[in-house]
Amino acid sequence: MREQKMEETIKIVSDKLNFNYGDFRALHDISLNFIEKQVAALIGPSGCGKSTFLRCLNRMNDLIPTARVEGKILLDGENIYAPAIDVVNLRSRIGMVFQKPNPFPKSIFNNIAYGLKINGVKDKSYIAAQVEKSLKQAALWEEVEDRLHDSALGLSGGQQQRLCIARAIAVEPEIILMDEPCSALDPIATQKIEELIHELKNSYTIIIVTHNMQQAARVSDQTAFFYMGKLVETGETDTVFTRPKYKQTEDYLTGRFG
């Protein structure tokens, strides 16, 4: 478990989280802290459960009929799996960016306005202002300001992903989950997004799943290494990468398996 420093707050915690797809136990007793306004990277080989874990944080796994969760996830101290919790509201507090950019088949403007409208915002000038603010925060505004009403599907892959990030931050979440956000993008687009993450952490807590270790090293403050559904090691990124506590971690980082 990562040690908490004096001036840091813990934003979200998983407490002995276990997860099943039907009979298959995908996550074993995961206990992990995430510090507010920092970037945490979840790394590990394919199939180790890191994406499954990420999707537990905003209860996206609820969509899978055979999914079963045991244990708790505490957001600001409250268990998000408690029966009284409003999942819909939870998901507006925890945003998600997916592996393959998935803008809606609507205009750029409406993609971002969508999140606001479904949350009940009606004031048109407020919406317009939020759209601009989100696009600026996502470093996309200059590229699209003259074509806000063009289809979002006409953007390049990297632009679409930044649009998805803008869409997620438009509803002003507290946490942004990113599931391998750059794996479908070219290196230049990837770099832009990594720079963006660096900016975004001033306002949001970010948890990113990545199979690219170098990216984890570049981008994150904390790294957690998953293997076969178990949390092997977690700690400050520098420490995990230079002085890993477990041989398994070291083997993965040095590429002995992956």
Partner: protein, 298 residues
Amino acid sequence: MEGIMDKMENNKLFRVRAKKRRVFEKIIFNALRFAAALNGIALFIMIFFIVKNGWMAINWTFLTQPPIDSMTKGGILPCIIGTLLLGLGAMAVAFPIGVASAIYLNEYARPGKLLRIIRLGVNNLAGVPSVVFGLFGLAFFVIWLNMGVSILAGSLTLGVMTLPVIIGSSEEALKTVPDTYREASLGLGATKLQTVFHVVLPAAMPGILTGGILGISRAAGETAPIMFTAAVFFSPELPSSLFDEVMALPYHIYVLATAGTEIEATRHLQYGTALVLIALVLGMNLAAILYRARLRRK
């Protein structure tokens, strides 16, 4: 020495075998192509014959005047209007129920007994012969619900008949909407209902509307369901209410060809009516295809 000779022999054999395979493939390919082309050929032959035998009947009078002289002369205006009304009526019944059913089946239904029963119902509905629908419509709408032979009874009967078609094409359209859109929407804090109405349905609209238009064109061409429930062989006035009976194109053809006063002499009228009906149906199909293409390009 021997090695080299073997290699050359093998080479030749390989090339011959490869050539045989290519020739065989080409024969099969052309056979498949011909089979597919038969569709177009069949349609073309059919249209050709109808046009050849019916084009002389088409004139302004034919299209805008009612029939006179015991339907041996005059026009088919009331039939055109009747067919259009029945087609639209069928759609008014089948479209809302069909799309709503498709949304339920594709977005909300959980696997289980209820779902299996519903699917069984829809599939079997699709297999009921059209004349059976006609008799059902007669017994249920016309007699039992006391609607009489009317546009209303005919539309309801045709609507029920077209329901499986609408459900099928709407479900297909919904299925083509990628799950990633639904995930993205839910991830932003939308409810399932919001997701369905603001993301999934708009994205599926081209397919759903196309299915709807094709549904109308099918309903418009049916004879048996409307024979007992809405259509009459002669009506002196154009319909003015839902409870009125109507004349219809397919029924008109049937009547002229079997029970009319001068079957042989009115042949050209029959073919002319058939031509108008085909033009209507093909026209609607074409409109559906063009509309879908336009929506897809956006």
